[in-house]
């Protein structure tokens, strides 16, 4: 199982993502100017401040050559995980519904948050049980998830809300406490909190984030079988 982790100028958490993914498989960086995904079986669009996040978080990164390949990869059913800035990029690229807006508190906020698993049967959560609670750090200033009502209704119907902030943990003001969403097809997933920073008790405060990477491995290796 091989992960490819995109690297934009301004990415910050890309090495952390590579190291986290290496707990369950092989992983390497893919430079934003490369169109070749080099045989990656799952893509991670990492956190950070791609292109400085000037204008609007994620707005410029979505047009990079590597992202063009990722968009094609996703349309062919490949697994794509977007974390924080990566989530913003995937929304800007319309691979995920909705948009991310500035936190209601208008500040960058860094906090360990708790997340409730809404669905334990997706390609990104199959190592978790529905109703399980995950403790994962979040750190961003542009993380208020928004989708209009019609979109939310459609998302509910097709089970696209995968994680919600536990009561008291939705500091960014996301609509309906939505913390993570997937696309209709189920192969693209984005969240603001950082599972790659919760893979080791010593430094993550918990290792709950590992289950996201483990789920992806199960999904990919299940496809092979």
């Amino acid at each position: 199982m091989k992960f490819g982790v995109l690297q934009f100028p301004g990415s910050c958490d890309e090495v952390d993502a590579v190291e986290a993914a290496r707990n369950v498989g092989d992983a390497e960086l893919i430079w934003h100017r490369d169109r070749d995904l080099r045989g990656a079986e799952a893509i991670i669009v990492p956190g950070g401040f791609s292109y400085g996040d000037y204008l609007r978080a994620g707005a410029i990164a979505r047009f990079s050559p590597a992202m063009e390949s990722v968009i094609a990869f996703a349309r062919d059913g490949g697994l794509v995980l977007g974390i924080c800035n990566g989530f913003q990029v995937l929304c800007e690229a319309h691979l995920l519904p909705g948009a991310l807006l500035p936190n209601v508190n208008l500040r960058f906020t860094s906090r360990q948050v708790e997340l409730d698993v809404v669905r334990g049967d997706t390609a990104f959560t199959r190592a978790c049980a529905a109703g399980q609670r995950l403790s994962i750090p979040a750190k961003h200033s542009w993380g208020r998830y928004y989708a209009d009502e019609a979109t939310r209704r459609a998302m509910d119907e097709s089970g696209q809300v995968v994680l919600r902030y536990a009561p008291g943990h939705n500091f960014n003001g996301s609509v309906d406490d939505i913390a993570a969403v997937r696309n209709d097809a189920g192969n693209v997933f984005g969240l603001m909190p950082h599972p790659e920073h919760a893979v080791d008790e010593l430094i993550g405060g918990s290792a709950d984030g590992l289950s996201i990477f483990e789920s992806m491995r199960l999904a990919v290796e299940g496809t092979h079988a």
Partner: protein
């Protein structure tokens, strides 16, 4: 040499901050009056900021050598060996005056500047800490500066992907007009990748890379840093604001490290205060060579810039390097990959002269030694002030307040309350090394690849230094080392930023020289040599000087990251003990500040050797896993330390205290509870473990962890309950103290 502009006069020199004598000396060195380019360059390099003309002699007294030191003061950052083939580079720097003018950009570019110092020696930045001082937060100016500075640090540090893992902030009236914004950074490098800044090899090329050059900060930091801030002067300095671009710096950082990894650079230097002027001249001086620079080859952001403007511009996010001619093409290729601009703008020569050209025409020509090394150094004329320099503030706690009221007032006061509203704005975990985040332990702890860990702390209580510059500085060094001991780390090296008033005034000179004396003694006693630092003088406003504030940063190491302790109580039933040579006193304490009392003249004596021995005992006990928690006693004394252990651990405690060693003192109970001093730790652990410790260090059993409240009884012949507060009340006071200032 062709003269395009009319020759500047001695009045121009005075306006640029040179004295009449210095101007004459420049004329001597040049053998003629300097032209505009030359005068601009001399005035910057001969400023306090670049030449350290009032502090250099004192700094020479500091200990800078030790078994772990790999690079001492003089390079862009110091470095110590941390084992496993790695070195840790670190340094603290101030951006006080720019932050007083525009706090957001001032603080942001302060972070940018200290990070460049770290990667200039080839180290990848792994952490930032900030040390901040503002006026009392009830004032609108203090709150404006606080919010701006914190936002600026967050913006830069978060965006560039370096965690801000710790810091400190104090609010005191003397900082009202002149805030302090100091930032410290740490980096990691393999020993082989370290690079120095000396330019060598005549014929080699000088390459400028990074952002283009604009009129930012023309005459900015350097001139600003050498003049007192006047009331209305801010207006005039507006055009000099430098704007930071963390995205550009992120690319610059990756580009610099890749250039070093590919061994393409002979030497590397960041551009900071005084821009090209200081970076090029200092590279030439260190390498004992000359440099020719052609300003027409410098990529500009604005049209029509004069040669002197290009030479002194403080545009951010730029680096200068020396490259062998055959490598220039590859260097440009790496710059192109990272979308960083680069241009060969000059050559190393064997002339010993700094020559500035414009399109080949000579517009400035100076001996490198005169520029960099021959600024006159001044002797201080220290004199202890006859009268108090600082006025007491308003009382907010009555002398007869109950112990419980006093504890709540202390926990919620701006200097002691939880720093969460501040550090939550910083990414403290990026790069996946942070074993102890802010407020989890007294020092931040960062894991290293071999399983060991670094610990780092930054500290200085300026009020205590104001009361006694010598002992107050020793106390600041001890506090840093105590913070390291609490997590199980041993000091490797120290950095410092001397923030003082105008050293030409005898009483400031006295503060400075006493403080440096204490700094040297304490670092010697702790085997924590000074590997770098910074000096910021002339920190005065209309109402007088700041508190003397020698900010101390210390880096330590522990063999196993898994052994580091936490500050919160961890287990009901653990025994609590006070360890170390702690002699509490209300002199210059936080409680006496809240009572509106004047600063005392002098602090009680400190037994450095005994304190250092206690640090070693606590450190070893932590490493051996014998303690559940460890926390040093600092502002607010023993009662506040106990309350912090309770709040952090979510556990109460029942404690019994002897009244103290000063029977009959009117404030005996308050002294026992809230007195401050160096050398004391609150630790908790199994009773047998604590018994084991008492063989090596003075240890007083205080009580037991458990329950929902903190109860402290002071034994006073007939015993009486001094205070009893619930965890809920303690937490509320602690967490609300600063929050309101960020609303």
């Amino acid at each position: 040499m062709p003269e395009t502009a009319t020759l500047p006069t001695v009045d121009d020199a005075l306006a640029l901050g040179l004295t009449r004598d210095e101007y004459e000396l420049v004329c001597d060195k040049q053998g003629r009056p300097p032209n505009q380019v030359e005068l601009a360059m001399y005035s910057l390099l001969w400023s306090e900021h670049c030449a350290y003309k009032h502090s250099r002699k004192l700094l020479r007294t500091l200990p800078t050598d030790g078994p772990h030191v790999v690079m001492g003061p003089g390079e862009n950052a110091g470095a110590v060996d941390v084992g496993g083939g790695l070195v840790c580079a670190f340094k603290v720097e101030s951006h006080n005056h720019p932050s007083a003018v525009e706090p957001f950009q001032g603080a942001a570019t302060g972070v940018g500047g200290i990070l460049r110092d770290i990667f200039a020696i080839g180290a990848r930045p792994i952490a930032v800490l900030d040390s901040l001082r503002f006026g009392e937060p009830s004032g609108a100016r203090a709150r404006y500066l606080l919010d701006g500075a914190v936002s600026g640090i967050a913006h830069y540090g978060n965006s560039i992907g370096v965690p801000t893992v710790g810091g400190e902030v104090y609010f005191e009236a003397p900082y009202e007009q002149n805030c302090l914004v100091n930032a410290m950074a740490l980096g990691l490098a393999t020993r082989e990748r370290l690079v120095r800044s000396a330019a060598t090899g005549p014929g080699n090329l000088i390459v400028l890379f990074g952002a283009s050059t604009g009129r930012d900060g023309i005459g900015g930091a350097s001139v600003l840093a050498s003049a007192e801030l006047g009331g209305d002067g801010e207006q005039d300095r507006r055009p000099t604001v430098q704007v930071g671009d963390p995205f550009e710096e992120k690319k610059l950082l990756e580009c610099s490290l890749e250039l070093l990894d590919r061994r393409l650079l002979v030497s590397l230097q960041d551009l900071g205060a005084a821009g090209l002027t200081s970076s090029a001249s200092e590279m030439a001086s260190k390498g004992e060579v000359g440099i020719d620079l052609d300003v027409a080859r410098v990529p500009l952001r604005e049209p029509g810039m004069e040669p002197f403007e290009i030479m002194v511009s403080e545009s951010q996010e730029r680096m200068l390097c020396v490259v062998e001619p055959q490598n220039v093409e590859e260097v440009m290729g790496v710059c192109e990959k990272w979308e960083v601009g680069g241009a060969a703008i000059g050559t190393v020569t064997d002339s010993g002269r700094m020559r500035v050209l414009r399109d080949g025409e000579l517009v400035g020509d100076m001996p490198v030694r005169a520029l960099v090394d021959e600024c006159p150094l001044y002797d201080l004329r220290p004199e202890k002030p006859a009268e108090a320099l600082y006025r007491p503030g308003l009382a907010t706690v009555a002398p007869d307040a109950s112990a419980g009221e006093a504890l709540l007032a202390l926990l919620s006061c701006a200097n002691l309350a939880s720093r969460r509203p501040l550090f939550e704005r910083y990414d403290s975990i990026v790069q996946s090394r942070t074993v102890r985040r802010p407020q989890e332990a007294d020092a931040a702890v960062l894991a290293l690849p071999d399983g060991s860990a670094l610990a780092v702390s930054i500290d200085c209580n300026g009020r205590r230094v104001a009361a006694d510059p010598y002992r107050g500085t020793i106390a600041a060094v001890l506090e840093c080392a105590a913070n390291l001991a609490c997590v199980g780390a041993e000091p490797l090296g120290t950095t410092n930023n001397l923030n003082f008033g105008n050293p030409e005034k005898p009483h400031i000179a006295w503060q400075l020289s006493e403080s440096v004396r204490g700094l040297g003694e304490a670092c010697r006693a702790l085997d924590a040599p000074i590997v770098g630092g910074n000096v910021s003088l002339y920190n005065e406003g209309a109402t007088g000087p700041i508190y003397p504030t020698p900010v101390i940063g210390m880096v330590g190491r522990m063999p196993d990251a898994r052994d580091c302790a936490q500050l919160g109580f961890a287990r009901a039933g653990d025994e609590i003990a006070l360890v170390g040579p702690f002699t509490p006193s209300l002199a210059a304490s936080e409680l006496s500040k809240l009572r509106g009392e004047p600063l005392p003249d002098g602090l009680p004596e400190i037994d450095l050797a005994a304190a250092a021995a206690a640090h070693a005992v606590v450190r070893d006990a932590v490493r051996d896993g014998e303690l559940s928690s460890a926390h040093d006693i600092a502002e607010g004394g023993l009662a506040v330390a106990l309350a912090e252990c309770c709040v952090a651990g979510g556990l109460g405690a029942t404690v019994e205290l002897a009244q103290g060693d000063a029977p009959g003192e009117a404030d005996a109970v308050a002294t026992a509870l809230f007195g401050e001093g160096s050398g004391g730790f609150v630790v908790s652990g199994a009773p047998e473990a604590l018994s084991g410790l008492s063989a090596f260090v003075s240890l007083r059993r205080l009580g037991t962890v458990g329950g929902e409240r903190l109860a402290i009884e002071v034994v006073d012949g007939a015993r009486r309950t001094a205070l009893e507060l619930t965890l809920v009340d303690l937490s509320a006071a602690y967490s609300e103290g600063l929050a309101e200032f960020f609303a």
